[in-house]
Symmetry: C2
Subunit: 703 residues, 2 copies
Amino acid sequence: MIAFSAVVLATASILGLTAAQTFQRLGGCPTLGCVLPPDQADFLAGQYFDIRLEVHAPVNGSEANGGVPDPNFKFTVAKANGSPQSAAAFFKVPEPALERWNFTWYEDLFARDAKTPSVVRVTSKAYRRVALYEPGDYVATLTYYNGTKTTANWNVKPLQQQKKAKNVILFIGDGMTTNMITAARLIAHKSINGKYQSRMQMDQFPVLGHQMTHSLDSYITDSANSASALYTGHKSTVNAMGVYADSSKDPFDDPKVETIVELLTRIWGSAIGVVSTAFIADATPIALTGHTRLRAQYGALIDQSLRGVTNYTWTKYTGADVFFGAGAEQFIPGSGSYQGKDYYTEFANAGYSVSMNKTSMLAAPKNQKALGIFCTSNLPVWLDRNIFKKNLNLTNDPSGNKKAALDLPGLKEMTLKAIDVLHERGGEKGFFMMSEAASVDKQMHTLDYDRALGDLLELDDTVNATIAKLKAMGELENTLIIVTADHGHGFDVFGSADTKYLSSQEDDRDKRGAIGVYEQSGASQYTVTNASISYNTGINFPVNWDPRYTLAQGTGAMPDNRQNFRVHQSPRRPATNITGKPSDDYYVNPKDNPDGFIVNGTLSTDEAQGVHSLTDVPVFAMGPCQELFGGVYNNIDIFFNMANCLGLGRASNATGNWNANGTAPTAVPATGAASDPANRVQRGLWFGMVVFMGSIGWVVYNL
Amino acid sequence: MIAFSAVVLATASILGLTAAQTFQRLGGCPTLGCVLPPDQADFLAGQYFDIRLEVHAPVNGSEANGGVPDPNFKFTVAKANGSPQSAAAFFKVPEPALERWNFTWYEDLFARDAKTPSVVRVTSKAYRRVALYEPGDYVATLTYYNGTKTTANWNVKPLQQQKKAKNVILFIGDGMTTNMITAARLIAHKSINGKYQSRMQMDQFPVLGHQMTHSLDSYITDSANSASALYTGHKSTVNAMGVYADSSKDPFDDPKVETIVELLTRIWGSAIGVVSTAFIADATPIALTGHTRLRAQYGALIDQSLRGVTNYTWTKYTGADVFFGAGAEQFIPGSGSYQGKDYYTEFANAGYSVSMNKTSMLAAPKNQKALGIFCTSNLPVWLDRNIFKKNLNLTNDPSGNKKAALDLPGLKEMTLKAIDVLHERGGEKGFFMMSEAASVDKQMHTLDYDRALGDLLELDDTVNATIAKLKAMGELENTLIIVTADHGHGFDVFGSADTKYLSSQEDDRDKRGAIGVYEQSGASQYTVTNASISYNTGINFPVNWDPRYTLAQGTGAMPDNRQNFRVHQSPRRPATNITGKPSDDYYVNPKDNPDGFIVNGTLSTDEAQGVHSLTDVPVFAMGPCQELFGGVYNNIDIFFNMANCLGLGRASNATGNWNANGTAPTAVPATGAASDPANRVQRGLWFGMVVFMGSIGWVVYNL
């Protein structure tokens, strides 16, 4: 941390703050008094949450106010038209202790280049595990600096305590957009004179919606905070999940919000399934139970997924019934696992069957909790598992033995097996499963469009098989199925490329002559049978991945790269650091598409990949409550609609019961104490983190 | 036409044909025997259409078969499980005369570069104005070359004769995608902590769908053939509307399909409104009544819009009740108008009030047909009409007096006035209106994203005002309102740009450092009040179009261009021909964004603009029959759903009646004679066209 005594104080200017955009002092806190959850937050009745208050005293920069944060701020909460009460009285909790810290940030890129950070001193309090039980409007008011006020208008949604769906399956195509679905349909489904002869499963869903994916404090989101919005009804900040990001250093003390998995476990005791083709500590799967501002805390997040939050009083959680994915790094004892422990053993000791390949997974007992970790890193994508199998020759065995993991399940096998376990273990209490096609996003990042579309088609094939299975089980009518995404990439197809012509031309400009637009795009050649090619991958996938005439496709956001529009026999790496500069400085990867033409990038040169985009993403729904998912809405509404359909709202501090339609048999402790003195898991981690946290403050936090 | 005797014959190879993509012998005809409407065509019961048969004899190239087309081909039609009858017997029409012609095309880019076209000789027949009245499946079979068969499976949709919606308003945002709506929302609607404080009108529609926009024979469409799909239920070929494209030279002899406007006029006599911000002869407005393979036949299409088809027997049409837009070139007597005539006078003689500015339009009588042509070319966009008004200083007065047209209506004024006239004139028979925001597309083509989003917001504002007006008139519940697009552009927003920082850097790579992604995108600065700026453009539009932090936005398909991410004070022209080569060869326009960084293009260097993309586009629906528009479907289904809701299907050869729910009071002539001997309008035109048709055949046809 830079000593603030060394920083020159600047004139205070509230107006100057509006320039802050590239960097922010604190997301969700445009003024110097911060209330988290912030203004406009929505809550499920009875949903647990923490409150964090901060008063900021900028030492320098456009907001500088003398650098002495108010230690005597007041905080009140009032029901609409009611009298404000102190929060301690309102929630019947002890007044928390005052905390203090400092942090730094840059006001803009000029300040960053000049290495002139703004320093902010902070006073703060946190109220832990409170809830609002009565639907309606509330006003939370922070008063500081002799009468300055920050007001947060909160709304508790109308109460829905009846469980209308026994099961909910939430499929997430990470980064999947309508544009990608359109492209995937084109390469996989045969069309005659403009009429498709087979249909994608998603296209057959009765209800379509669009969700807005932007975060609390930036209009482009990442997968942590968008997943968290879907699971909690609260938007947050990039890299955060299950919390609103505060400005303290500890990534595990940020104010939490309860997730749908925690609610469902607490209220109905339903079975929980987590399935992903990513490493399972990745944002989309782990945000179901994770509470941290830093998604990169992989090891600790795996511990949270097994034991729940342990550093503060929170709802009890003892692990999902099914946990299938990749990312053995967090399970093999060592630098990647939490406290160096063997998490295969930790899970086994908690009663899990442990599978490390498809054969074992398929044989796992249905009545036992199931962990399946099938390789290190992410699961190899569908295209490599089914077409370019030489790419499976890796050192990714989940045991850590440096051999190749070859007995791999795909998303479909994991999902169908998960349903068997969840159906058995959930019984009449039903189940909730999130199943993620993670590499739609991961391959879009590397501009490897074919690999992304392959995994999108695998998702569609999985949804298709899931519906068939549920129907055979007699559970289809009891199950709300949602297929959606968490954000997009700005991808689209704009024509065809004659790859033979492109490759034959010498000059970059001549190569571009291979691209046919409008009527010259012609018909999809991916669905034309080629006698020399047979993948045996079924009707929902292309019959030829490498035709002469391919899709001309791309995105507006990209690093420098070279395009030839052919399928990449090996996974793509479009840009590399070839200058040897110490900082990242990415140019075209000389080994990528050597017969293609170069397009210089549209992103900062320290970006080696494409990035997420703004677009609303589609929501397909079928089953009980499907009617809630039509039209256009915010991503948090998906949480509220699922919670509504599952009857998770509560008018009092008690759990529910599946058979009693909302009566509350089991009392749980009232609003919690401020801080658990044991505080063991994350405190240890936080002290361990100081080492690499460095001194430049805010920027470092956002790993 | 190249003499085919000079061309070397190649070995016949049916397999070789599958390579044809950049160029096609004939869309909708993959074999040498062509049936149009082709296999998989759907029909409304009672919808008029023509049939075109062709037998191709390639002289050279991969399909060469000796070059003698069969003059004795047979054509039969059978109802499912029925006996095939000759078409003449089936439709009770005379057997048409045999036609013959030749055409040429290129099999691929190598053949084009080598200047070795393939020559095809053709025998053909056309059956004019027939219809299928009985719902169900039909098989049409062309037999040629001693037993070779081309089979077309046709389907007539289930009969719906009852009128469920009195009025239908179809709003088309040309080229508008979900991604653009998301971006427009971000710049126009204020958000606090991720929750929008006002909503777009589209976002409030109860039903959302996606339509697939691909054409009959290419997966990227243009606005002619996509509009035609929406209006007729038949996909066609790029540049074609209201017809299936055949291979003959005459752009007005292609087989026609009846449009929703023609059906509605014939069956119910409802009032018809056509409103567009484009020149009114542009594809989207004119395809409501146009029947041609070549959308660029602007003058003739204006004549068709007033008098209907006159070269063949077809349904009678005497002009829309409202016709508001731009494009005075086709009305001022001269080179742009049909046969050099004064179309203001032609319309006035047909009973139209004629307005050439907003004041006159607003004063036009409600009970009279209304023509309003407000300028030459396209209407200046919303951004120029409201913010950058200096750009209105043009020579675009609709009188042709070379002065500036300054008394201009916007889409909203035109649409609301149109409703007044249509409501008055339609009376109990109701009305159908198409209202188009044309420049969403036109400005996306020039990568002028702000202008595109401005016109998208104008569309949304127009829809909002339309709903309010219909409500006030008591017509809202009688009116099906659809808001959709005809195709997309691969646009998205991927972050923010610090335009001050970008402009301050010298090096192109350093400039890219201004782009903030993920958390560095921050919040929209377009909605932040700036005291020095007041546009008075209302809550549905940005309060600042030129903030320091702008949207970093782009598309995957682009010519060479320079990006600075700022609003363009003047309309943008990203690429220019600076080399002086005779052929088009586009580089970065040196005058465009001189402080920006260069991105080389991803399109052929003869493209000066961006191009259309593949993505499905959204459909928003409210009102009677709204439930038909949820989920994912083909663009032609929008026609069938509208026709269903309007009760336009007919089980026999008679018109319907609004009051009688499908009974048929007025008989019209049965299926028509083959060819109108008068044939006056388009024949004249066709002979006039030979002059510039040149000798290279097919490529020339697709202007």
